[in-house]
Amino acid sequence: MQKINLVDHGLFNPGHAACPGCQESLALRVILNTIGTDAAAVFPPSCGAVICGPHPYSSLNIPVFQTTLESAAAAASGLRRALNQRGKRDSTVVCFAGDGGTYDIGFQALSSAVERNEDILYVCFDNEGYMNTGAQKSSSTPLHASTASTPGGKPSKKKDIIGILAAHGIPYVATASTGHMNDLIAKVEKALTIKGSRFLAVLVPCLDGWGLPDDSGIGVSRLAVDSGMWPLYEVEEGHHYTLNHDAKTVPVSDYLSVQKRYRHLSESQLAEVQAAVDQDWVQLQKRAAESASATTAASG
């Protein structure tokens, strides 16, 4: 049992439209309350936009600007610049987009915004597909996962969005999950101390889209981390890697077997996923070790 270090300022209202057990609404509540009131949020169409609620209601107690699916980072840039001109340079502009609006259709605008190092916090709620439109494949969908548009399983790997964002050399890139709330809160708090582009990908298992019981979200999030399929780490200034959860303690089969989207998996496909995760894990450990030794050398 772990105490969650959250002070709830009441910035996320009950009665919103998320599904029972939704991990995204949980993450949204935690992030909003960590950021506080001096903020405005940008949402493209997504589960998040649905959770915001229908006009004239809002589940968020900060101002929201909703934009088109492919333009979240561009709209956040425009909002940021307007606030700068209006004497609100210290207010936070936070973007909440899904993986479709981030990895796919919103990617061009995102790459451009972070290339300009716009002073925005971009949060991607990653549920590994277009869950709001019926669970179709996105480029975040992992290898072999079944979706409405890849019923036989996705033939290609999940896009390495963290690696791509890190390659832009922006101040802060990190992963987080709903299974490790204090880690999520600490990363939001850290991001708030940094100026410039900050990117946070939060794994939010979609109970309906992944085929999971309503009460399983947090447990599945933890399995994603413990299996190494969703490692928790940070990349600062494009090169400094920190592993925040350095034990890979369970095989990927523990994580995959509880999800209906993987129930068609053959032994060889399972082995293929395990091998890829093992390889990525070694690479990540190596980068984290190199970063740690570089820091030691610099301070020594």
Partner: protein, 389 residues
């Protein structure tokens, strides 16, 4: 048109640099902009102003016109005065967001340089790009000269902000965008007195309880379109007011439409943009030859100034519309709009001849225009536009 300034107050400016001056004088706070031929000199000149500290604006250079417009909308609805510029393919790339801007009632002012739309690739004057956006809810003004482009940019802010609609001003590629003319550049103090800072009633800002863009029900959506309709209707009066006030300050005004030597005319040439300048010369030549021909220049295209057009053309026997644009299956878009505007005028309505003249940037000289007009005298008007050369 009279003017209270002398040539000593003038700068030799291209149409695009005149636009940049107009934008500068309007004091935009956020400028998201992406380069495209033949718009780029507007962007570059604004960049020069910014680098020299002569404008206090946030300049964004995103990866596309789409993102430029997305940023423009968010900035505008956060209460900032916004300027951007584009042309042709760039305007088409913005299409989705043009609707979004108008639906959101964001009073962005954008300059569009009219250029052919691919394929095939070309860079010539042709207004199909902006006319294809006529259903997006943007105010559209077409300018004939660099001076009019500067003046219209400033006027457009006064109009857009008074009716809460985005406004697009257009001039033709190269003929206006790159041609240089002496242009009167007004004093900043004069423009400030004409255009006070933008202070909207509603805007998105931390600490306020207003949000934008939530999903709405059918009836509320329907109401937004009725409201948009009302705003479009108010735009006609708003531009008349803005134009009159500008004329008062500078001696220059352009109207919703301009009637040139139409008083006793039996034939009216109807056109827009730089073609109006060529038609003006043709009218003078035909008048000199004793022909009763005048010109109706349509400046405001959206909303279409129906009452002004009807008043100008009532009782004139023939209207010859010159369209430098092409809507496949329809023909010339000004022709189409004009026929609609004259509906119900009955006995006093002119016979309307729609000519596709200069599509793709083909040069149209005053001599050609005289020939086009002459050719319509022994021809019955057609419902469809006719290709001429």
């Amino acid at each position: 048109m009279s003017t209270t300034t002398t040539l000593a107050d003038h700068q030799l400016l291209s149409g695009n640099h005149a636009v940049a001056w107009g934008a500068r004088l309007a004091r935009p706070q956020v400028i998201p902009v992406y380069p495209i031929t033949p718009q780029s000199p507007i962007m570059e000149k604004l960049g020069d102003f910014h680098a020299a500290g002569e404008i206090d604006a946030e300049v964004l250079t995103p990866e596309s016109e789409h993102s430029a417009m997305a940023a423009a909308i968010a900035a505008s609805l956060a209460g900032a005065r916004v300027f951007t510029a584009t042309a042709s393919q760039g305007l088409l790339l913005m299409h989705e967001l043009l609707h979004y801007a108008a639906g959101g009632r964001a009073p962005i002012v954008m300059f569009n340089v009219n250029r052919t739309v691919a394929s095939p690739w070309a860079f010539w004057p042709d207004a199909t790009d902006s006319l294809a956006q006529r259903d997006t809810g943007w105010i559209q003004i077409y300018s004939e000269t660099p001076q009019e482009s500067l003046d219209s940019t400033i006027q457009a802010y006064r109009v857009a902000e008074s009716v809460a609609l985005p406004a697009m001003i257009c001039h033709d590629a190269f003929y206006v965008s790159h041609a240089m003319e002496p242009v009167a550049v007004p004093d900043q103090a004069l423009v400030d007195s004409y255009l006070p800072p933008y202070e909207p009633e509603h805007f998105v800002e931390p600490g306020r309880s207003e949000s934008f863009g939530y999903v709405i029900d059918q009836a509320t959506f329907n109401q937004t379109r009725r409201d948009l309709d009302q705003a479009m209707a108010r735009t006609v009066g708003a531009l008349e007011e803005a134009d009159a006030a500008w004329r008062e300050l500078t001696g220059r005004g352009y109207g919703l439409v301009e009637s040139y030597r139409l008083d006793d005319a039996d034939t009216a040439i109807v056109t827009m943009g730089s073609m109006a300048g060529t038609a003006r010369v043709a009218v003078d030549e035909m008048r000199a030859a004793g022909e009763r021909v005048g010109l109706l220049k349509v400046r405001l295209f959206r909303p279409f100034p129906e009452a002004a057009v009807r008043a100008a053309l009532a009782g004139i026997g023939r209207a010859v519309v010159l369209d430098r644009n092409y809507s496949p299956g329809v023909g010339g878009m000004l022709h189409q709009e004009l026929k609609s505007a004259l509906f119900g005028l009955n006995g006093s309505a002119p016979q309307v001849h729609g000519l596709l003249a200069g599509v793709g940037g083909v040069n149209v000289t005053p001599a050609k225009i005289r020939q086009f007009v002459a050719d319509t005298t022994d021809r019955d008007p057609q419902s469809q536009s006719v290709w001429v050369e």
